[in-house]
């Protein structure tokens, strides 16, 4: 299209904040302190009395995941990024889960990759237990 054929244009005086509002953030925001979090999410408060901690994900979520394998038959609860005394966390958490569920729970600790695995679906229970401890 030739320059002469293009339509004539004029500038518009517009509040640029309307455009900026449409542009996404480049980084994940740090959540601000609020009185209550209705969704159940809690920020990481830290617990110096404990010899262990878990590092939150990039999105500030607890690193507790459900791994579903073998076409839905095998379910594993994984707690990743465990820092400090991983065996201590494993022992305490396992005791808590076994008491809550009244059954033996097979578990596994990986000291190199810093994760703890429990056989079964206990994601919510693990998260609640971690949140109680401020982790």
């Amino acid at each position: 299209m030739l320059a002469e054929e293009l339509p004539a244009v004029e500038p518009v005086d517009v509040d640029w904040s309307h455009v900026e509002r449409l542009l996404p953030r480049r980084t994940v925001p740090t959540p601000t302190d609020k009185a209550a979090y209705p969704s159940g999410w809690t920020p990481q408060r830290g617990n110096p009395s404990l010899p262990y901690s878990v590092r939150r994900s990039v999105n500030h979520m607890l690193p507790v995941y459900l791994r579903i394998m073998e076409d839905g038959v095998k379910r594993l609860t994984v707690v990743r990024n465990v820092r400090g005394d991983i065996w201590k966390l494993h022992d305490e958490l396992k005791r808590h889960l076994e008491e809550t569920n009244s059954r033996y729970i097979a578990s596994r600790v990986n000291e190199v990759s810093l994760y703890v695995q429990f056989k079964g679906e206990y994601v919510q229970q693990v998260k609640d237990w971690l949140r109680e401890r401020g982790l």
Binding site: P7, A8, V9, E10, P11, V12, V14, D15, W16, S17, H18, V19, R21, L22, L23, P24, R25, V28, P29, T30, P31, T32, K34, Y37, P38, S39, G40, W41, N59, H60
Partner: protein
């Protein structure tokens, strides 16, 4: 650089060379249809080699299974799948996820939360080219939803509408056509294309009923009717309908508008932070209608 003598020599050559034709230039040449080989050297086995089934048999039509009912006839037509490749899809966003986004500041609860804001959070992705026409709000976590928000989604059930209004917020269901969706899903990428903001089209025939219905909070419905339905819904579910103040919680887009504060037909230049519009009255009238 060619010298004057070289140029003249080239021109002299041209006068004697043949005219440019299909037989002396490089051009795509489709293969001729294969034919049976004939003659002394093409005869005998005629390109079929020696013996074997390929030399003896005339092959049956594709899909033939020796008389057994072929696969393409055996499998019946499934009426529920008719036109499935053309149906609109609405990926779900639950109220729990929404509350979590508000709690962790992934989305601004002070302004309207629409398709663009949900996509900009980085947690949800919409692919219009896969027939995804927007988000639907699901009822998971509706009991814990307490934040007053101004929501604009593409589909919501009655319970979800009740949960949002009980919390003191407002919800609207709006339709966006394909061109508008492309702009809304990634506004930055859209502005960089240098295309004016599109004028939103009206919903297709099968969606008009939904988006003009006040009970589903359609964006084309009568606002008075919508207010009446808010009251009746509160009575039905047994909650006190909170008063919603005029402000960010009640801001609405025009049915032809896709971005707040920006009109269709405007061109946004991100680099120079400038917005342009067409002077031509016919074009501006079209965009403003």
């Amino acid at each position: 650089m060619a010298s004057r003598a070289g140029q003249e020599k080239a021109l002299r050559l041209l006068r004697h060379l043949p005219r440019v034709a299909l037989n002396n230039i490089d051009h795509p040449n489709p293969k001729p249809a294969s034919r049976r080989k004939r003659g002394a050297h093409g005869g005998d086995t005629h390109g079929a080699g020696d013996k074997g089934s390929k030399a003896r048999q005339h092959f049956a039509r594709a899909g033939f299974e020796g008389g057994q009912t072929p696969f393409y006839i055996r499998i019946p037509r499934e009426d529920p799948y008719k036109g499935h490749h053309l149906r609109r899809e609405y990926p779900p966003v639950s109220l729990h996820q929404l509350q979590l986004m508000v709690d962790t500041d992934r989305v601004d609860a002070g302004r309207q939360i629409d398709l663009t804001q949900i996509c900009n959070s980085g947690l949800f992705r919409l692919e219009p080219l896969r027939r995804q026409f927007g988000f639907q709000l699901t009822d998971e976590g509706m009991d814990e939803f307490v934040t007053p928000v101004n929501l604009e989604v593409q589909w919501a059930s009655e319970r979800v509408i009740a949960a949002v209004e009980r919390a003191g917020g407002t919800i609207t269901t709006a339709f966006y056509d394909m061109a508008s969706l492309q702009a809304m899903v990634d506004p930055e990428r859209f502005f960089k294309r240098g295309v004016p903001i599109p004028r939103r089209a009206l919903p297709p025939q099968d969606a008009v009923g939904y988006y003009t219905d006040p009970s589903t909070r359609g964006y084309l419905a009568d606002p008075e009717q919508v207010a009446r339905h808010r009251l009746t819904l509160a009575q039905k579910y047994g909650y006190e309908l909170p008063k919603v103040k005029e402000g960010p919680l009640t801001e609405r887009k025009d049915p032809r508008q896709i971005f707040f504060g920006l009109e269709p037909g405007w061109l946004v230049n991100l680099t120079d932070k400038q917005v342009w519009r067409v002077k031509d009255p016919v074009m501006s009238e079209y965009f403003r209608s």
